[in-house]
Amino acid sequence: MAHEKQLNRTGWFFILPSSILLLFFIVYPIFYSFYLSFTSTRGIVSQFVGFKNYVRMFGDPMFFLALKNTFTLLLIQVPIMLVLSITFAAVLNNKKVRFRGFFRTAIFLPAVTSLIAYSILFKMLFSYDGLINNTLLSLSIIDSPLQWMTTPKLATFVLILAMIWRWTGYNMIFYLSAMQNISEDLYEAASIDGASKVRTFFTITIPLLKPIILFTTVMSTIGTLQLFDEPMNLSQGGTTSSMVGPDNVFLTLSVYIYNICFKYTPNFGYAATVSYAILLIIALLTFVQFTLSRDKEEVMRRRIEKETKKMVKEGLR
């Protein structure tokens, strides 16, 4: 008995350092942030204002612009990227495809670049006198250089393109490792039955990948709602300029929070309110995505855990 008690204490001991850090840097901040969202701060003076910040948020056009920009990315970029990832994974999981290793590494490689580096790279590629315009001009695809980074729609296009470039290979790795766990026998049986490759993809691969599709969708959703590095560094002037992208098309929710805190007259209270909006949207969307794909929930949860373990390994590789 005494021995078990001691083991129990040792168990807590191992968890202690993490718990202290978690308490200081995650648990306390998230509660304090909630309190802040009911206060108004000007410099060091702070006062309780009740729901004033929340009321202000619902009448704030900049907040709704940030919301719209974020959701544009969520609804366009994430689906395109995930479909591409799963296509690459399906193709590169086929043992008959030659140079698989090379193609996998090549398509994964963008995922090792820093978010800053690739954003700046795309900004340079698509600048008015940049490589893309020059190439398109010399191929006579366009007559005059396009204003990629100063036209709102084109700038959004560049941001979406850049994010697809950076994240497709990363997500592909998750699908690949999940596909490797699907038994070959299933495919053999299907091909004996005369099913085409495309058909087996939709009737065998996709259903079995459901948990992983859910996982990548949730992760991409969270990632998009927190998007900061890319819009900040794609926009001309970065953190110092008055607008984030042409007509503020790069103003995402996180960028807006940063601006409220560190660019305008700091108002930590209102920034905390907007940050709680993000938290709420993430919780809501995650809940919806889980509910939509619920089938035999417990089974799925175990499968996600199992897949994630492998994925995490693969993803880091």
Partner: protein, 272 residues
């Protein structure tokens, strides 16, 4: 002979090759670009130039990239050590000393993964102001060292560990901490390598938190330096390209160097 499969496989390889080209091209462009002048890069020159030394002289002279790289390396290495220690210990505690209360604690840990950094940023900023850690590397290292994702990753990797080994050591009278450091840790090296890569990459590429915390030029990281180079009013493409090349290189080297060890680790776990 049927011609249809041939067309199909031609299209397939064309699709793969084009994708691979677009994936790799920017890397090629970075290397080319770091050897060219700003003007040549803008013109779209795609061959090596002779401006490499000029670019690097500017980068290390006017912009003090040397110090920035040193700062990045220092922060990344210390973060890797601290976070590996702290998070793997927690994972070990959760996995090897199972109890109902600890499982509940674990679920709570996992729940916090959903919290966006934006919601933590403001209180965190105030904490470090109160503790006088503004503009210090310690603030970055401490905040980065707690990663629930890594606890999750480690615990998943510890699931298959044979606990009999630990029991045997206990019977031999070894202390719990000693078991962890001298018996458990060495046998999990490939898992730790994987965790180290993740922690290193995350730290090296971090932007938002360092941007808030580090306010003087002598403290900033390579990532911050490059970002500020590119947002200046007269960005010098050649210098920026050299900076990107230098900051990206360590990550690519780490990726390729550790890949082998990582694959070994995976094969090892499959054998079990």
């Amino acid at each position: 002979m049927n011609i249809k499969p041939k067309i199909g496989s031609f299209l397939l390889y064309a699709f793969l090759s084009v994708s691979a080209f677009f994936s790799i091209f920017p890397f090629f462009w970075i290397i080319i670009g770091s050897t060219n002048s700003a003007l040549d890069i803008q013109k779209g020159k795609l061959s090596f130039g002779d401006q490499l030394i000029t670019n690097f002289t500017k980068l290390f002279g006017e912009s003090d990239m040397g110090r920035a790289l040193f700062n990045s390396a220092k922060i990344a290495i210390l973060t890797v050590f601290l976070s590996l220690l702290v998070t793997s210990m927690a994972a070990y505690g959760f996995q090897m000393y199972k109890s109902k209360a600890r499982e509940k604690t674990y679920s709570f840990f996992l729940l916090t993964m959903m919290i966006p950094f934006a919601s933590l940023m403001i209180p965190l900023f105030q904490i470090i102001v109160v503790f006088r850690m503004l503009n210090s590397h310690l603030a970055i290292i401490l905040v980065a060292s707690i990663s629930v994702f890594m606890i999750f990753f480690f615990r998943q990797s510890f699931v298959n560990y044979q606990t009999e080994i630990l029991q045997a050591a206990r019977v031999d009278g070894a202390g719990e901490l000693r078991i962890f450091f001298t018996i458990f840790f060495p046998s999990m090296r490939s898992t730790y390598a994987a965790g180290a890569i993740y922690a290193f990459m995350t730290s090296w590429n971090a932007y938002l938190w360092p941007l808030i915390v580090l306010q003087s030029n002598d403290k900033r990281t390579a990532t911050l330096l490059i970002s500020s180079l590119s947002s200046s009013y007269t960005p010098d493409y050649g210098v920026i390209m050299s900076g990107i090349a230098l900051a990206t290189l360590p990550v690519i080297v780490v990726f390729f160097a550790f890949q082998k060890q990582f694959v070994q680790g995976m094969v090892g776990s499959v054998k079990q």
